[in-house]
Amino acid sequence: MALVSPKQVRYERRSIAGREIPVAVAPTLPRHSVPARFFSGLYSLLTGMKLTLRYFVKPSTIVTRQYPNNRETLKFPDRYRAALKFKYVTVRQPITDWEFPDPKSPTLRLPASLLRDWSRGYEDASYHKCTGCKNCEVACPNASIRVVTRIGEVTEDREVDRFIWRMDSCMYCNACVQACPFDAIEMGHDYENAVYDRRLLVYNLNRQAGPPASLVTEEEDITVRRRMMSHRERCGGPIPLNGHALPNLHALPVTPIVDASTGSIERNSEAES
């Protein structure tokens, strides 16, 4: 295969249609004789056969991933976008109030590590970073995000109540992530998202309603911190088509949400926006 090297290219000016135009002139490639072409062709075919034979004998070249069997070892590229999720800041905080939430509470699952930490006098708490500024909602070209805010009980200021993300209309363009000034959301790698009813694809992204981590951690008293945050279920928002029914698609029954701070039971209703 003859290739033109940059050194063989001549640069000159030619008058084309009455104008002087600079042109690059490549030399005409020599057409090789039949035997030369035959052998170079043969050589390239043999090169290909060598390559495929290498693939054949080396199991390490196999790229197939046997999906359901390799859940534990699956690795995703960093930029893989499967589902929007909140970023959480985990802080280790000393327990001063020693008033644990009721262990029988259905919304509270107590892992062993938590119990161990409690016995040592501290707990790990995760706080989100969303301020409820609605930049992402504005940035979303599909209107897949709706940020519902509330006036916080403790802070008496606007804070996020529900961050509703509609996976069914999201196109994973990442615009919301880039629009967020507080680095509060990211594209996660949770990939097994199939459901039988598209209404189930409307998620509450925030696990707790409340002010962002930066505000929460300013508060020293853990009791007050607890009162700032209230629990939110993943599917517990004003879901299924925002609570409306379609002719042959009924609104799903929604489990009542227990507000951890006040103990009151919220019904599935349109929250204030």
Partner: protein, 364 residues
């Protein structure tokens, strides 16, 4: 030269046993039928599985691995699935021919299976014009494709069938020229005699250069004859949907598919028989002890080894080489393979005249 193989085909054994009674004869004939039928089934299943597995590994994949260990029952399951699929005949197709074509396509390789010597005693019929029979029946294989394509009443099928006709008839010439080289060397058209003539060494290396060239020409042209990539012009998935079998479904499609794979085995088996010594163990002239060691491996194993080596070669080529265009295909045959084949035949006849072999023929 003193090692003699008792060469006897099943047909001869059946004829001999007529002296004893009719029952052993029928037994032998039944055995022959079973042998060919079993071979077709086992080859069909095995080769399709092998092709998928080998293709996968050439392409950095794993291939079927769910049904049974290494997915060996995948083809079985696919066959069952195909059996239960609907058999559709297109509107205004020539129904009789359409339904008949797949059997025609499958009949050709099965006929040839009957004359290939798998071992000194494992051959159904050893006819004295074996090579002629093989090339004549092999050329007949295009009928199934032509009839199937034409009767489908579909432009792609018809174009594919016409291309198949042009291609197979062209490459038949080169293949036959390569076969003639071996006929010249061994002085016989009988396949078993060709095998025994390679007692001192296989024709691929015993005739200096010429044998190898004929072998390569035969490989190329037989690959073209069985319509495998890089010569898959009649199917031409990228331009003709599926070529001549576009309109076939269910069992009849699988017959075409089966025919393709049996054809591949036939081409590989013939190449092994004619150029690589068939069931003959690897012998080098008068190296008696070396030959004795080689004789320890049974002849049928030798045949299968060689045939599967060539099958692997054909698959390797298929998954590596780029496809040829229609005009390039004809160009290759008429302007390169055919002249080279003729020159090779002349060179071969000179060699046969002067007895210029490694380990010259004793008789000449």
């Amino acid at each position: 030269m003193d090692t003699t193989y008792q060469v006897k085909s099943i047909a001869e054994q059946a004829a001999d046993s007529l002296n004893v009674g009719i029952l052993p004869t029928l037994g032998y004939l039944g055995l022959a039928l079973l042998l060919v039928a079993g071979l077709v089934v086992v080859l069909g299943m095995g080769l399709i599985w092998l092709e998928r597995k080998i293709a996968a590994h050439f392409q950095c994949r794993l291939g079927p691995n769910r049904v049974g260990p290494f997915g060996i029952f995948q083809t079985l399951m696919d066959t069952i699935k195909l059996l239960f699929k609907e058999d559709i005949v297109p509107m205004r197709a020539d129904k009789t021919l359409h339904l008949f074509a797949p059997f025609l396509a499958l009949a050709t390789p099965v006929l040839i299976l009957g004359v290939i010597p798998y071992g000194p005693l494992q051959q159904v019929a050893d006819i004295s014009i074996g090579v002629l029979f093989v090339s004549a029946v092999g050329g007949f294989g295009v009928m199934g494709i032509l009839v199937g394509g034409w009767s489908s009443n579909n432009k792609w099928s018809t174009i594919g069938a016409m291309r198949a006709g042009a291609q197979i008839i062209s490459y038949e010439l080169s293949a036959t020229l390569a076969l003639l080289v071996v006929v010249l060397f061994s002085g016989s058209m009988k396949l078993s005699a060709i095998v025994t003539s390679q007692h001192d060494g296989w024709w691929v290396w015993r005739a200096p250069g010429v044998g190898l060239l004929a072998f390569v020409i035969y490989l190329i042209s037989s690959t073209a004859e069985i319509n495998r990539l890089p010569f898959d012009i009649p199917e031409g998935e990228s331009e003709l949907a599926a070529g001549f079998h576009t309109e076939y479904s269910g069992m009849r499609f699988s017959f075409f598919f089966l025919a393709e794979f049996i054809n591949m085995f036939v081409a590989a088996g013939l190449a092994a028989t004619l150029f690589l010594g068939g069931w003959m163990p690897f012998h080098i002239g008068d190296w008696a002890s070396f030959n004795a060691v080689m004789d320890l491996i049974p002849p049928v194993a030798w045949f299968s080894l060689k045939a599967f080596f060539i099958i692997f070669l054909i698959m390797w080529v298929r998954w590596t080489f780029p496809r040829l265009r229609v005009d390039q295909l004809m160009h290759l045959e008429w302007r390169f393979l055919l002249p080279i084949g003729f020159a090779n035949l002349i060179a071969a006849s000179l060699i046969a005249l002067t007895n210029f072999y490694f380990y010259p023929l004793a008789g000449n």
